[in-house]
């Protein structure tokens, strides 16, 4: 409770229009290259045949195929979602290819195609264990499949299962069957249903009772093929008293067409377990005229199933043409804790509608939300959050802080907090601020010798500090760099 009480919001003053900060084009997206590699896949189109073919390629058991088909049939009956605060062209689901994979399927890391290794090297994620980040195990997903997972042996020695979802379905069917879809049911929403029908790969993590995962786990998602959707599915289960910290990173080449990324992530924390899930999302955002970019429609949900469990989402969202995601926590166990820390940056014509849901069911449950939205160019950035205190949520508490920072005059920031309180002992707090980078701050930095772009980066970094603090060390540095690159050309 102290944690919640002690959190003071940054008192950002609303300042007058900024004459200095004007719109200039010229953002650079360093991850925009294309890897030339022989691919295999399914032709565009979606019907039951596609799903059976996908399931067959992946050598899945019959129950998995049936699970997918059931989801597909349900999906067909669902209306397309109402687009929140987003403008979006209709998506042609028959024009998308639902499976793309490098032709050569390696059996181990030593057999991975050099072109792929080079791709990940260029992205700063070396897959050779010698060169890999110390203390971080990586699962690399390229288009529809996992191409390699590092440090598997060390993890296995600790009892931790970390592999691709495809492998998990074959190797650990009991665990997968027990938990898959238990947090996000197949019919949860339009994109979750689509994902359940056609998901191709993703990461699987299982931390057995009492084990603290000895290293950070991470997945690096890369979309490469054209006209392909990426539908990954991630499942993380932490048994009683287990701890794990997991990070995902995402990039894609520059293309003029929009590409669809519709992922589902499910987290299950049993009694006393802690899961920390961090995302650095840098999908291709489209160019300065709003052409191309990834549609990022993601369902992420954690279930604090046991008492005294804790789930923490931290996200840094700088990419995608459209982002639509609300990492949520269901606080089922008594005294369970849910946290959400978010930095969402939009530039040019990017649109982001993101936030969280904290569903309090158990007694003395606590949640904390810190959202930092930064808008530049002609972009639109919305925070949408739901805090729900159900009848049984005795003495539950929520603290929400939403801060928006505007750069330039043509962007927008919106905050949509929803609160439903059905228990009179529950306490919900909400604070929101909107500020601009002021002329005074810019002049102060410049009069000390700091150039305009560096000054903006520095001010934005300061604005995000509360969230960056929550990221694992290695990635806090990466996130900061990413913001700098994403803001290039935001001032003139």
């Amino acid at each position: 409770m102290n944690e919640i009480m002690n959190n003071q919001s940054s008192t950002a003053a609303v300042l007058r229009d900024n004459a200095q900060v004007a719109e200039v084009l010229g953002r650079s997206y360093s991850a925009g290259f294309v890897t030339q590699i022989e691919m295999t896949g399914l032709p565009p189109g979606l019907d039951e045949g596609t799903i059976r073919a996908l399931s067959a390629v992946k050598r899945e058991p019959e129950w998995m195929t049936e699970w997918r088909l059931e989801a597909y049939r349900h999906w067909l009956t669902m209306p397309k979602p109402d687009w929140a605060k987003l403008n979006i062209d209709p998506i042609d689901y028959q024009a998308i290819s639902y499976y793309a994979a490098p032709k050569k399927q390696p059996k181990s890391l030593d057999e991975v195609d050099p072109a792929l290794l080079e791709t990940y090297e260029k992205l700063g994620v070396p897959l050779h264990e010698r060169a890999a980040l110390a203390g971080v195990a990586v699962d690399a997903v390229f288009d529809s499949v996992s191409v390699g997972t590092t440090f598997r042996k060390q993890l296995a020695d600790a009892g931790v299962l970390f592999c691709s979802m495809s492998e998990a379905i074959r190797e650990y069917p009991e665990i997968v069957q027990k938990y898959l879809g238990s947090v996000v049911p197949t019919g949860d929403n339009f994109f979750a249903a689509l994902n359940s029908a056609v998901f191709s790969d993703g990461s699987f993590v299982f931390i057995p009772r009492g084990v603290r995962c000895p290293m950070e786990l991470s997945t690096y998602f890369r979309i490469n093929a054209q006209n392909t959707g990426q539908f990954e599915r991630t499942l993380i289960v932490a048994e009683e008293g287990a701890h794990v910290s997991y990070l995902e990173g995402c990039t894609a080449p520059k293309r003029d067409e929009n590409q669809l990324h519709a992922a589902v992530v499910e987290l299950v924390a049993l009694e006393g377990a802690q899961i920390k899930y961090s995302t650095v999302q840098n999908w291709y955002p489209g160019d300065e005229n709003g052409v191309g970019g990834i549609y990022n429609f993601v369902t992420k949900r954690g279930d604090c199933r046991g008492d005294d469990s804790k789930i923490c989402w931290t996200q840094v969202e700088t990419g995608s043409a459209i982002t639509w995601k609300y990492p949520s926590v269901v606080l089922r166990g008594d005294r369970s804790v849910g946290e959400f820390y978010s930095v969402a940056l939009t530039h040019h014509f990017q649109q982001a509608d993101t936030g969280t849901k904290m569903i309090h069911l158990g007694k003395d449950t606590k949640s904390k939300i810190v959202s930092k939205g930064i808008s530049a160019g002609k972009s639109s950035n919305s925070y949408r959050g739901l805090v729900k205190m159900e009848k049984g949520a005795e003495r539950a508490r929520n603290y929400t802080q939403c801060d928006s920072l505007l750069i330039g005059k043509q962007c927008g920031a919106h905050t949509f907090p929803y609160m439903e309180v059905k228990n009179p002992t529950a306490i919900v707090e909400h604070e929101a601020t909107t500020s601009k980078i002021s002329d005074e701050q810019m002049f102060y930095c410049r009069s000390r010798g700091i150039g305009e772009e560096d000054a903006v980066s520095m001010i934005v970094d300061g604005f995000c500090k509360q969230v960056f603090r929550e990221l694992p060390m290695e990635f806090a540095v990466e996130a900061k760099k990413l913001l700098e690159v994403s803001l290039e050309g935001a001032v003139g």
Binding site: D439, D461, G462, F463, K465
Partner: protein, 250 residues
């Protein structure tokens, strides 16, 4: 070092400086005094290149170069420093980090090698000692939640680390109690050197008891109307600006 000739400047269309001329040599301390609205702060802002201050006539030559052509950050790298009357808060940005970024940006522009964290920390420790400032200041965000006195002291501390050639102090003494004033003055005195010049803009002669200037100028109605030594400040204290014959506060 600095030669201002017939400087005219406008703010929001209104002419504030109306033919100001001033020469400053290395090693000198000049005090600029004058009534409210005389153009004192405008002078500081024009010299450091703040946007919104439009120079309509006149020249400013600094070490042989046309200062007015340079961006604010280029002026900083060339050794011009302005201690602000109202230092700005930058939430979440660590004071030490800010200062190191500033120093290294200046060094880079000058073609000097940037300092690594260890070298920088060593420099900062030395300066803290000289300025008699507690290192608690270093761990906080830039001016965030600082008292008025702490903000002003932080400006002087920044000046000590950046080691400018021309330091402009814009009412650094205003709002300070006597102890804080002495501390700020001591910091300034510690930085006086034959290579460095100071332009101290102030309302009151109080600061000049602690930092004794070589020259005192009275700025009124956008021009220097009288110049002299320390005794001029005392005379002003006694008779006020109204006592000045030549075109004082109109």
């Amino acid at each position: 070092m600095l030669k201002i000739e017939n400087l005219h400047a406008r703010v929001e269309g209104k002419e504030i400086l109306k033919g100001l001329s001033l020469s400053v040599n290395a090693g000198e301390v000049h005090a600029i005094m004058g009534p409210n609205g005389a153009g004192k702060s405008t002078l500081g802002n024009v010299l450091s290149g703040r946007e919104g201050y439009e120079v309509t006539a006149g020249t400013v030559t600094y070490n042989g170069i046309d200062l007015l052509q340079l961006s604010p950050e280029a002026r900083a790298a060339a050794g011009v420093f302005l201690a602000l009357q109202y230092p700005v808060e930058i939430p979440g940005v660590n004071n030490t980090y800010f200062l190191r970024a500033a120093l290294n940006a200046q060094r880079k522009t000058r073609g000097e090698k940037e300092l690594d964290s260890m070298q920088f920390l060593k420099l900062v420790r030395e300066k803290l000692k000289v300025m008699q400032i507690s290192d608690e200041l270093l761990h906080r965000a830039v001016n965030e939640g600082f008292s008025g006195g702490e903000k002003k002291r932080n400006e002087i501390f920044q000046m000590a680390v950046l080691e400018p050639q021309l330091a402009i102090l814009d009412e650094t003494d205003s709002g300070l109690d006597i102890d804080a004033l002495k501390q700020v003055a001591q910091g300034v005195n510690a930085l006086r050197s034959p290579d460095r010049a100071f332009l101290m803009i102030t309302h009151y002669q109080r600061l000049l008891d602690y930092v004794v200037p070589d020259f005192v100028h009275v700025l009124a109605n956008g021009r220097i109307v009288e110049s002299g030594d320390k005794s001029l400040a005392l005379k002003l204290e006694e008779h006020g600006y109204a006592g000045l014959g030549t075109g004082a506060a109109a």
